[in-house]
Every structure is written in structure tokens, then in C-alpha cells.
Homo-oligomer: 304 residues x 4
Amino acid sequence: MTPTIFGNPHGEFMPFATVDSNNQNLASLLFSCVDQVGIIAALANYFSERDLNISRYAEYTDDGHFFSRLEWPMNDRWEDESAFEVEFASMAAHYNARFDVRFMSQQQTIGLFASKQPHALIEILNKYEANFFPNIEVSFIIGNYQPMQKIADRHGIPFFFVPTDGDTAAYERKQLDIVHRYKPDYLGLARYMKVLSENFIDTAGCPIINIHHSFLPSFVGAKPYQMAYDRGVKLIGATSHFVTAELDQGPIIEQDVARVAPGASVQDMVKMGRDIEQKVFAHALLKVLEHKAIVHKNRTIIFN
Amino acid sequence: MTPTIFGNPHGEFMPFATVDSNNQNLASLLFSCVDQVGIIAALANYFSERDLNISRYAEYTDDGHFFSRLEWPMNDRWEDESAFEVEFASMAAHYNARFDVRFMSQQQTIGLFASKQPHALIEILNKYEANFFPNIEVSFIIGNYQPMQKIADRHGIPFFFVPTDGDTAAYERKQLDIVHRYKPDYLGLARYMKVLSENFIDTAGCPIINIHHSFLPSFVGAKPYQMAYDRGVKLIGATSHFVTAELDQGPIIEQDVARVAPGASVQDMVKMGRDIEQKVFAHALLKVLEHKAIVHKNRTIIFN
Amino acid sequence: MTPTIFGNPHGEFMPFATVDSNNQNLASLLFSCVDQVGIIAALANYFSERDLNISRYAEYTDDGHFFSRLEWPMNDRWEDESAFEVEFASMAAHYNARFDVRFMSQQQTIGLFASKQPHALIEILNKYEANFFPNIEVSFIIGNYQPMQKIADRHGIPFFFVPTDGDTAAYERKQLDIVHRYKPDYLGLARYMKVLSENFIDTAGCPIINIHHSFLPSFVGAKPYQMAYDRGVKLIGATSHFVTAELDQGPIIEQDVARVAPGASVQDMVKMGRDIEQKVFAHALLKVLEHKAIVHKNRTIIFN
Amino acid sequence: MTPTIFGNPHGEFMPFATVDSNNQNLASLLFSCVDQVGIIAALANYFSERDLNISRYAEYTDDGHFFSRLEWPMNDRWEDESAFEVEFASMAAHYNARFDVRFMSQQQTIGLFASKQPHALIEILNKYEANFFPNIEVSFIIGNYQPMQKIADRHGIPFFFVPTDGDTAAYERKQLDIVHRYKPDYLGLARYMKVLSENFIDTAGCPIINIHHSFLPSFVGAKPYQMAYDRGVKLIGATSHFVTAELDQGPIIEQDVARVAPGASVQDMVKMGRDIEQKVFAHALLKVLEHKAIVHKNRTIIFN
């Protein structure tokens, strides 16, 4: 009756049937540079010379640039990601490339922000519990709505109630204190309804992923379903994107839409839109956490 | 800090932002008969003569039959659904019609069955908590996997662990005892992985709604994702249907699909399929609980 | 070998297998007013008193208004739509309602505008030939690209080449001369790439339906696929709408989207977007020609 | 006014705005073998040693096999595909691989079969005319419905009327005579409603691509929309697949679905299903003609 704990190392793990194909032995490389002759051969040879067997490879060329992702079973020659990156740096420099290495054995951490609406947060926590995401830990939840504590408690995740009624600088300082204490690899805004200041974004120290309840670039801002209703669109959508200083203008990671039933009210749209929001947010986080997203200018290249 | 309780009468209610347009003052009528002249006028006059104002009306003709749904704000002249039905019966008899009346003020109850995979169950419980469904109570959960107790506990719903290893008749007797004690209006099979016997279906005393992890009628039975992989389909799907004695052959309530990524394994399909399963199941239950589904032969007529 | 001509009265009819459920005996009414008690009964009784049997009925309430569509087999008591409308006017006045009557026996006409890209035009003409649309005639095509003549010729439809290089007022006068000669019930802009002046819209004498190659309100104007690429959206779309004086701001009739493949160029989007454009345009025209679209403020109510 | 002819070499070319990114200088390789270490490096080096620059590369592993597609700008060292293949054969033999080379400069040919319903045929011809497909020629159309001649004539494509009323062996002999005269690279069945005999399939001399009007494996055979209606599915679909001796069981290339409106009749499904059929067929042909489909067992690996 006592389940063996694996996958999620926090105490509240639940031993449900999961699809855990997350091989913690794997490593991956994201690599991008101006498109030029011979990159594939150079990369293939680099790995072959080090007895690393590329088990998965994908590339796109776009906007005159070359974007690729490689995956391989790691051996123990490199202690950690940094060690591999140091060695790879000269190769990358030759192509004037940007790159990023991830070892799946090194757990990533994410902190979540939430407000009153719980659906996006709950979806992430359930998928977290069911090992939908690769080797990660949800380190903390910051919310401006006290009852959300209960949802955090269910999953054994530290919850910090930071009211956001007063001065922005003041409450963001409290939030940043928590963020800086945990130093997560990513922040996820699970229908957190406050606009982050430029200072917050600059000093958080990690990428921030938001879910916006419209099909961007339509309906930027606070009341997208009302705007969608007023404009009479026939499909509503949701957009998950990296947060930048300009509201709802960051690089888009994932989007989806659903058809509006004839006669649907704004309330109906809000209700039905939640399904899209929570799904789009979860799948965007998955792509980021699986190391499958490259930002290029204001766009993302997403790998399968 | 102490939230006002409304909507879900069980103790564990959570005061999150909800879209509660569920007017408990409303009543609805489902009505079907062989198509004939003058039904709309007859129905409209019936309601008008009783000072009932039809606030929502929809109809379809299909297979030579007429199917309609009416919604109106109830007054207190009729004590309950039965009283209204008794009075309406002569009208229905005139058209040789089948009909069903629902007062939203009368809470409906549902019992859920689950096995090892929690995603469908969790989705229903979260949407239940957020008042996605109209005035209902989830009365109990029966599971053949003990750790599911924890999920039931989170929501304060009675959980009954009934192992299903041995003799079918024996464990179904235990399940039926629970069902007969609670007398739910509906049973929902949230990825419950045992086939119900004909005896169970006949004696449960209420409609049973299942979620099947394929786009029926393709891939009936136990391993639909493996079958989908072997056949090389480019879309996978899920189907929610009323349960009948013939496996996966009951009237379909809702279906949806998702595209298979190139190179996707069976495991990938299983993982990605869960999003469709949980969404299709929740939306099928919504239609049934909102009194918007009529079964005709082996098909359903679903109202917006 | 000589086919019987039915459906399309112009000489070039092609006797291909069609789904012609277009019963030319039918009539339909679109009716909208401020929502109030007793409208359904009033409408039902109005038709019943005249021995007209409503064979199809649908309604929505939205924005405090009531919108309904009725369909019935016409008898020969009313000579034409106008006769019916004159009689119905007092009923409508009682509810301060807007309404519109259509007899399917009275052929509707449409004129089409085209530029260089033929896909939307060809799709409409093929569906026209296959009786996808109800009892209509495509009366003429106006184009600013001479080779489009050949496509018009294939279908035996008069083509007018009106170059649009010079002064807008000058070439629009030529276009309006043609429009006023044919007096079509509708104009369809099949990827016609010039902006119509307010004067043209005001004096054309009929509703104008456009297909725009983006998911409005995103990407108004001339280069939507380039804009979609630059913004990095993950879905591209198309929108068919009624034309108003403000560019791409008219009431939306139909929209759809398609997923952007990773690494897709602007050219790829243009190529793949055509499928959505032609389908959305055809289905929007179908809704309008089937008398299933009501404009309310800047939105449309579309009936099934 | 006289347009320059490019793209389609047959006389009837129409100079409409097209998206012709079909670089006839390109070549592509499809390569599959049991998955093993070092294949990417081996392929990359093979091309690099011959001064061929891989401009596009994609791979999947599936079912323990490795599938890849390479694209590169061809130089004039190899006269044709065969010359390249002869040289590449030893490389392939080393990995016990199957492979196929295509030079886009070598025009591919396709023959089409049609019956009474023209929509799939017309869609292909329009997209052919607009250079949707890469460097191909539609060589001939064989039909069992005489009026289809007119559609072939519009596009200047030879049409052969072969009635299919009598003995199958007899009319298939006539069809095969035509096929063997033209020796097309592919045959496309554009809603051709006769089942091909095993002898036809074996002796046609090229792959055959069909469009079936259901979401296979559901509803094999002659009346899929009726079957879909009877089963009460909520989505209808279409499937394009390679033809094998077993009816509707060949490897699936592409599929799509559309939602069934409440109250839709079989006729409505037939009408709405055509849009999916023609789109799925065109996109499946595109994948095959762009050299982006590998058949493995009874499945296809499709490249972006």
C-alpha cells in the first residue's frame, strides 16, 4: 500500500499511473547561428568524436538563421551542464552561435504566481504530479488571494500570500525576495492578474512564462473575452508567451482556439475559454521545460 | 477570510472566482416525438397559458423526429419536477411524445468510478469545485486503486476502495450496494478500466457515462492508443458515451481529436491523449447535467 | 448525354453529382427585437393561423435581444416576398422588430470581384456549379487582372476587366456602372485587393462580403501573413466579414485557423493559408445566401 | 497582356499569382534503416565530402527504425537521380538502408481517376494550375462519367472515358492500357468510386493514392456518411492513403475532421464532408510529390 516514491522528490508524491518516458540520462543542446554550409556535419562530428550518440536531431532554417536541437544519452565524462558548455564553447564560437545545454539529470525548478482563478494553476499541479513534465520541481507558489493556500497545501508546495493592493514597488519587493531566495529556473504566471513592472522582469533572474486569455495579438490587456464578444469573433483563444516589458508582446510559445457557440455570452466565453487557457499554458511550459524552445528576435522556434 | 458558501453544498467548497450563471430558478423540458404540424405553437401556448415565459428554445428535426428543449424561469406553482410532469403528461400524450422535466433548484447527484489514472477524475473534481457544472453534488467515488483515496479526500468526497481482482459478480455486488445506498442520478466512469457487466448496467438505476480513449467506432476495447499507433492514424481522439451492454457501442455524447506529431510513440500518444480525454469527458457530463442531451435510437441529440 | 438543366439556370451547367436538398418551396424569416415575453407563442400562432407549418425554428438571445429564424414550406397565397412582408409588418411593428423574409423560389444574385489570386474565386465557382449554394446566380465578375477572364469563361459568367491603376473615383465609377446594371443582391470580394471607398460601399446598393487573410482583429490591412510571421503566431487564420467604411472592421461572419508548421516561411503561410481563406469565404457566403445571418451592432448572429 | 509561361509546361498555363518557392535546383533523399549509432555523422560526411550542402534535414526514430530526409541544392556532377542513387548505394548498403532520391528538376507525372463527384478532382487541378504542387505534370484523367470531360478540357488535360458497368477485368484492361502508355509516377483516385482489383494494383507500376470519405479505420467501404450518421459520431473525417489490395487498409498519409452540426442529416454530412475530402487529398498528394512520405510497415512517416 505504501507507494515507492519516484519522479517528484517532494513529500506529497502520488503514485498514479504515469507516462514517464523522461529518461534522466538524456542531455540536449539548443544551437542557433546564421545559416551556413556544413553545420550539421560539424555538429555530428563533434559528438561522434566524443563517443556521444545523437539519438534525436531536428533543425529549422528561418529568417536566414539555423536552429537545431540535439538529444543524446549522457555519459559521465562531464560533471554537469557547465562543464559541457565550457568545452563546447569554442565550437560555438567558430560559428558565432548561441547555444544552451541541458542535462535531464539536473532538476529544473519553477515558481508559480496565481490570483483568484485556480484552473491554470490546478492543471499545472496535476500534470506535475502525474509526471507530465520532465524532471522538475515546483518550488513555490506566490498568490494575491489567500484561499489559494489550500491548493498549494494539497500538493505540499510552499505558498506565499502577498497582497497586491498597495504600492507596486512595495509588493513586488516582497515577491522578489521570495524569488531570489528560491532562484527558480523559470517563473510561470498561472492567470496571475497583475502586470509585472519592468524592474521585476529585469531582476527576477529567470525567464517568465505567462498565459494570456486571448489569441494574441488580438485583445491585449485586461478584458479580452469582453473585447472578443464586442468584436464578434467566431473563435476565442489563448496564448502562452515569454514576458517582456511591453504588455502581452513577448515571444509566443503556444496558442490554441475554440469555436464560439451561437448566442454565447461573455460569461460563456470565459467558462469555455478556461479549457484552452489551461491546456495552452501546460503545453507551453512543457516545451520550455523539455528544452525545446529557442527565442529568436520576438519569435520562438519550437521543436517537436 | 471565511468564504460564504454557495453553489456546492458540501463542506469543502473553495471560494474561487467562478462563472456562476447557473440560475437555480430555471427549469427545462426535453421533448421528442414524431415530427408533425403545429408542435411549436402547441408548446408555446401551453407555457403561455400557464404564465411561464420560455427564455430559451431550441429544436432539431432528425430521422423524421422532432426534438426540442425549452428553458424558463420557474414560479412556485409546481412543487417539484414530478408535479410539473404529471400535469404535462396529457399534452405529451397528445403527441405521443417522450419528455423529461428538470428544475435546476433540485440538486442532481453523480457518483464517479476511477482506476489508476487520475487525470479524468481530477478534471471533473476541479471543474466541480469551480462551479463549471450546474447545481450538482458528487456523492461518492468508487475506486479499485487505494491511493486515489487521497484525491477524494482533497475534495471531501466519500471514497470507497473496492478491489476488482476477483470474481466480477462479487465485486460488482459491493459496488452496487454503494450505488443503491446513494441513488445518484448519474454514474460517471472517469477512466475506470473494468468492463461493467450487463447486470450492473441494468440494476445501477441510472444512466452511466464513460470516457473512452479513442475516436469511436475506431479502436474499441483495451489498448486503443496501441491500435491507433499500429494503424498509423494521423489524429487520435476520445469519445464520451452512455454505457450500454455492448462494449463501447453506446450513444456518443461528445468527441474530439488531436494531431499526432510525426515520430510520436505510443507513450507520446497516451500522454497527449489525456488532455482530450479529460476535456471530452467534462464537456459530455456538462451537456448531460445541463439537461441538454436526448438519446434517440443509438444516437444523441445535443443542444447548445 | 445532354443533361437536364436544373439548379443553375445559366447555360454552362454541369450535371455532376450534387447534394441538392435546396427545396425551392421553402421560405424563411429572420426576426429580431428586444427580448420580451411571449414572442415564440406570437410567432407560432401567426404562422399557425395562416396554415403555415414551421418546419425549422431556431432562436438565440444575446445582448438583451431576441434573434430567431423560421423556415416553412410556402403555399401560393403570397405572390412574393414583398407581399408576405407587407402582411407581416404589423406583427413586427407590435414588437418593434426588424425582420426579413426570403422565398427560396426567388433566385438571389451575386456579383464577384477578383484580383490576381484565383483560389477564392475558383472555390466559389466550383461550389456554385455543384449546387453547394441555394438557388442563386453568379451574375458577373469584375476583375483588375485580365487573365481572370479565362476562369469566368469556363463557367460562362460575364467578366468585366476594370483596371485599378489610376484614380479611385474613376475606376469605381466604372465598377458601379456594372453593379447598378446587374443590381445583385450581394457582392463578394474574392481576394479583391483594393480598398473600397466609402462612396462605393454607400452606393453599391447591396451588402458586400469580403474574405480577409488573417484572423481579425489581428493583422488588419495589406500584408497579414508577413505581420503574422513577424509576430510569431502559432496559428494563421482567415476572416469573412461584411464590408463597412472602416477597413477590416465590419461584422464577422465566419473565421477559421490552421497551425503554422515549425520553420514555416511567410511564403509557406501564404500557400497554406489559401485553403482556409477559400473555405471560410465559401462558408460565409453559404450562411448569407441561406438567409442565416443577422447583423446586430458590429456582430453577426449566425444560425445553424 | 500575353503572360510568360513558367511552372506548368502544358499549354493551358494560367499566369495567376502563385507561391512558387519550388526551387527546381533542389534534390532530396529519403533514407531509413534500423536505428544505430553514427548515421547522422555518416550522412553529413557523405554529403560534405561531395561538396553538397544540406539545406534541410529532418529525422525521426520510430519502431526502432531511423527515418530521415535531406534536401540540398544539386550541382551538375550527377546527370540524374539514377546516377546519384548508384553512387549512394554502397553507403546505404553499409546501413542496410532503404533510400530514394529525387531531383526536383526531373518532372514527376501523375494520372488521375474520377467518377461523378468532381470536387476532389477540381481542387487538385486548381492547385496544380496555381503551382501548389512542385514540378509535376497531370498527364491524364480517366473517368467513368462522360461529363467530366469538360473539366479535363478546361485544363487541357487528356481525358479518357472508360465506362465501368461491365466486367471488371475488361474495363481495367482498358484503364491499364492508358496507364502503361503514360507511365505516370503516381496515380491519384479523386473520389473514384470503384474498387481496384488486386491485379490492377499489382500491375499499375506506380503507387496509388486514394481519398476515402471517412476517418479511417472507421467506416470502411461504400457509404461512410450513412454509417457515421447511424453511429451518431460528433465529427466526420476524410483519409488519404496509399492503396493496397485490402480495401481502405493501406498506409494513411493524411487525415482531418470537421464537427457535425446538431441535427445534421446524412445529406448535410455529405455536403460538408467535401471540404475535408478535397483538402486532405490535396495535402496528401503534396506530401508525396514533395518527396516527404516514407512507408514503413502499414504506416507512413511524413516530414514537415
